[in-house]
Symmetry: C2
């Protein structure tokens, strides 16, 4: 059983300066909160989302029983991040397509959709925008910030941009930056979108079309990288879709894995914004807190004062355990408090969204500890 | 220094029955030969090619100093496969786009290019076509068949389809079939091509266009899977293309790896045929000699009588060492003669085309042994 939640929105008139040198004014952020902020405002937990997620982290919308948030297994009453004890906030990132101001909204300078002219946003910009929203909610210090994948990068960045405002940070299935292979996959996905004739240089809204072909390819590529080789072989293997005989066709579906990927791609292309895809994958590419320190993660994390939980999954080849261990080492070199769990899970990067007794147990125990500090 | 070679072509009037149930008549195969067939016709070595290669295996075309064949480092006078001792044959596979009959040639039934109507060809069909060409050359038995990747699958299939005609088989960086992840990458590449509006259902020749966007994406995906994570990080890492500052752009190149992939993709789209790409990736998908034996590789290879050399490369995640080991086990279970080398190389799947002292040494020693048997 889940619990009912209501999305909210907050508008900001004051321009938000962006790392690109640009700024954005008159923007809105969609967000949700669960649980109750305690009297001394010390039990707030911010949950940051990855590429294809939103402020709708947990719970369901009234009367829509299949509308559970993307981390509903992790967050709610009695769950590892327990909303009976913590006040949880989810915020849709600027430039996303689930309610916050993004490329499909009107560019005040032109009166037409922003499209490809939406300013490039970075992980650091998102964190700044989140901090402003927390200011407006009267939350000075977070009990914790938590995120998986790109969400984990935001949690990391919180500990560097606002060290005094974050007491704990949970960084799940993440990395200190993308490696060349990660960037390469992002780039192929972006090329598929940008070269789709329906992209129209990012101003497809004016043409009444959507670059669905490109979005479909982008999602298919993404999906392969979210799954492990093992889980693909277990779930699909070489199973044919129809019976036992191949049909000898180059364009029709033969194998179950093809059918699955096409379905995932088509579904995604129905709802995701192409310009948002470009923006979010670029935010991933750009994130690299060590860059300003000559590549030294140790030096970059000197500023961080939070207590950390890092979790990785053995079969995650997108953000491998080795990348989490780099972070653990940089934090330990700075004598920071770090708990690290490397979960032996078959599901690849997707594992961070799935139920796993040990994983859930680790997160629960960590938040139990934080709750005790609050009491 | 390389040596001069001349491509040849051989026409076949008699229909070749195909595994799909179809057949193709009046086809031609482009091929090259190097070295001299000895008096008892016992020193012939067939070299099979993979996706993006051809009959031009070694040597160069007169007056074209940059026209070396794709395996010129491996094959030639004094090289590991020594053309002073062996008579080497390279054949462009049916359906390819480098000289043999393929989708861009005229379909006699319509008088227009075959396009997407070119019959689906399998590894087994290619081997049958190669056997006919060897018949015409008067070669009954091969001293060896050799191939890497998809070429290795053809070498494997030779030992199953014509066990009495193959004395040795070298199977490099190959696998007994594709796994779900391999098929998935092929499928994304195919979707990129097929959904390119310039594909026109595979009959783009009639429209005077080429689905370059799709081919570019397909090649970019392929390239990522040919390289290891390690070599990408070493060669490109997070290096920016222009100076040290990011430019904050979602559509322009920022990182060197993007520039490299775009260049590889664009180059490929200039010369490779889109229908050939579909045909060859499907041949890869379909190859599965164990399927007819309830999935038992051991049972499938009972027929094989050749002596085998298998080579894999530690960082090859497309055709991993584990896949070669499956083959080694199946062959040993049948008490076949197998040499197996697992080469510790950083280059991923591409390693099979590159110089590596140990790899070259293994192949050289293996062919030395075969030469001694001949003497």
């Amino acid at each position: 059983m889940s619990f009912d939640v209501t999305p909210q929105s907050m508008s900001f008139a004051e321009p938000l300066p962006l790392r690109s040198g640009s700024a954005i004014a008159d923007y809105a952020l969609a967000y949700e909160t669960y649980g109750t902020l305690n009297a001394d405002r010390s039990n707030a937990v911010l949950v940051c989302h990855a590429l294809n997620a939103s402020h709708h982290v947990a719970g369901q919308y009234a009367g829509q029983p299949k509308s559970q948030g993307w981390w509903d297994n992790m967050i709610g009453p009695g769950k590892p991040l327990d909303t009976d004890r913590f006040f949880v906030i989810g915020i849709n990132n600027l430039g996303s397509c689930f309610g916050s101001t993004g490329p499909m909204h009107t560019n005040p300078a032109t009166g037409r959709p922003w499209g490809a002219d939406f300013p490039v946003v970075t992980v650091e910009d998102w964190v700044d925008a989140q901090a402003r929203l927390l200011d407006a909610l009267g939350i000075g210090t977070l009990a914790a910030v938590m995120g998986g994948s790109l969400g984990g990068m935001q949690a990391l960045s919180w500990t560097l941009q606002y060290p005094e405002r974050v007491r704990h940070a949970a960084v799940i299935a993440s990395a200190p930056n993308l490696n060349a292979e990660n960037i390469a996959f992002n780039e192929v996905a972006r090329r598929a979108i940008v070269t789709d004739p329906d992209f129209h240089g990012g101003h497809f809204y004016d043409h009444g079309v959507v670059p669905k072909r490109g979005l479909t390819i982008a999602r298919m590529i993404g999906h392969i990288t979210y799954l492990s080789d093992d889980v693909m072989n277990t779930k699909f293997g070489r199973q044919l879709r129809e019976g036992l005989q191949v049909r000898y066709t180059t364009q029709e579906v033969e194998f179950q894995i093809e059918s699955y990927l096409r379905h995932q791609g088509d579904k995604f292309s129905e709802y995701f914004d192409a310009n948002t895809y470009l923006l979010i994958t670029r935010a991933l590419d750009y994130f690299d807190p060590a860059a300003a320190y000559g590549g030294s993660l140790r030096a970059a994390f000197e500023r961080a004062t939070a207590k950390f939980l890092l979790v990785s999954f053995t079969t995650d080849w997108r953000f491998s355990p080795a990348r989490s261990r780099e972070l653990v080492k940089a934090l330990l070199d700075n004598r920071r408090s770090v708990s690290y769990a490397e979960i032996d899970a078959p599901h690849g990067h997707d594992a961070f969204l799935l139920d796993d007794t040990r994983y859930m147990g680790v997160v629960r125990a960590w938040f139990d500890g934080i709750a005790k500090e609050l009491a």
